[in-house]
Amino acid sequence: MYGIGRRDDSKLIKKIVKDISDKLVSTSWDDSKGLIGMSSHMDFLQSMISIVDKDVRMLGIWGMGGVGKTTIAKYLYNQLSGQFQVHCFMENVKEVCNRYGVRRLQVEFLCRMFQERDKEAWSSVSCCNIIKERFRHKMVFIVLDDVDRSEQLNELVKETGWFGPGSRIIVTTRDRHLLLSHGINLVYKVKCLPKKEALQLFCNYAFREEIILPHGFEELSVQAVNYASGLPLALRVLGSFLYRRSQIEWESTLARLKTYPHSDIMEVLRVSYDGLDEQEKAIFLYISCFYNMKQVDYVRKLLDLCGYAAEIGITILTEKSLIVESNGCVKIHDLLEQMGRELVRQQAVNNPAQRLLLWDPEDICHLLSENSVS
């Protein structure tokens, strides 16, 4: 290719660039601030990905909003992509697709895969055919971040046969069903952080470079961490918000959070709720107001009595990471519970009688004493 004399400049260049690339990777994450718990994620993921195997593998990273799926995928990409012939990280797949359509998503994908800046390059061809034809002999590493519809997978990575031996495709999503229906059975479930790591992450944002936890903030930090219930997004948002604020400001923030959830956190969590249909939304609200930690059978019966298709509803909510079933009980993350209740409250802020559900004892007493409920 680079026909200069008998030397092989092409190989020399590859070597130079690879050396630099390796150095960049090994030095770019020395700031471990946001990476609490990453090594245990990596232990599981590396073995699921098993880079030495020559099959083509698709793998899902699944979990609730704000739990750190994207951070994990990015870290993975930085660690591994250098070992593949072609690689790309497609962020916000859902958003790009919703806003600009699936065609734009494909064009963006091809531009990245071929390192081509000119978006017009694919204007008159079937993108699916190009993907199918041109990567069959390449070992690729692809991350599709935040996927919410099958169509997005079908248009970019429909079949493993489209890619060369050893290729790996990682999909992050809140919806497990989406993965399973695309035949992705390797699914890594991202869980919330345990207490100790949660406190670590929170402190990294709330106190940054300080090595000693300032006097008077110990108990408040624990309160903040309890509120976030191990959700990395909430720990980060709260920690950053409280950074350099006074003790009194901490106290008042934490008190307010008990009644009014933090809007940045709610916004992220709400996306999952907005993607539900009316039945599922209602079931979610019922569970967040009344049925957290209740027996699944009991919840199912009551919801059936209310006229909801409880069986499929509960399954869908589980798949979309809004609830979990454990030990025969329905469990909902504290912040999702708070969001559900807040959504009900917002239906009619000043007029509880018009809300779908009433859960606040004060509201109920008030209404009963006024005798205005029919």
């Binding site: 400049d9 590859k14 601030k33 000693i212 936890l213």
Partner: protein
């Protein structure tokens, strides 16, 4: 006073503008070796600073260029046949050596590294041909240091 649960000390966090600065002699390698090198950097998503203003250069290197050198994490110096004939290239090299980069990679392109180290042959003559003798002394020192760093010799490929 409780100690924080983590003592992860973040190193002095310099924000690098680019990943690599590449110093080279335009007339020798711009359209060949270096052009392919930049393509490969681009393909791998590595941001390399490219000095394209080669033709409108003045006598001394601009403050923008010095910023670019300082703002790059790594530096690659492509030492080709006529590298030392350009006072511009030699000044660039001097700046790179002064900046104490994390990593400097010399690429000896069709040039014998020992000629660079000892400034022998036509390479040595080129260095000496410049009139500012004080500068020449500094350049020779920089070249000697550069040649002592392990890099790549194109003749091995």
């Amino acid at each position: 006073m409780a100690s924080l649960p983590s003592s992860s000390s973040s190193s002095s966090s310099t924000v690098w503008k680019t990943d690599v600065f590449v110093s080279f002699r335009g007339e020798d390698v711009r359209k060949t070796f270096v052009s392919h090198l930049f393509c490969e950097f681009d393909r791998m998503g590595i941001k390399a600073f490219r000095d394209d203003l080669d033709l409108q250069r003045g006598k001394s290197i601009s403050p923008e260029l010095i910023d670019a050198i300082k703002g790059s994490r790594f530096a690659i110096v492509v030492v080709s046949r006529n590298y030392a004939a350009s006072s511009w290239c030699l000044d660039e090299l001097l700046k790179i050596m002064e900046c104490n980069k994390d990593t400097i990679v010399p690429i000896f392109y069709e040039v014998d590294p020992s000629d660079v180290r000892r400034q022998r042959g036509s390479f040595g003559e080129d260095v000496e041909s410049h009139s500012d003798k004080e500068k020449v002394g500094k350049w020779k020192e920089a070249l000697k240091k550069l040649a002592a760093i392990s890099g790549e010799d194109s003749r091995n490929w």
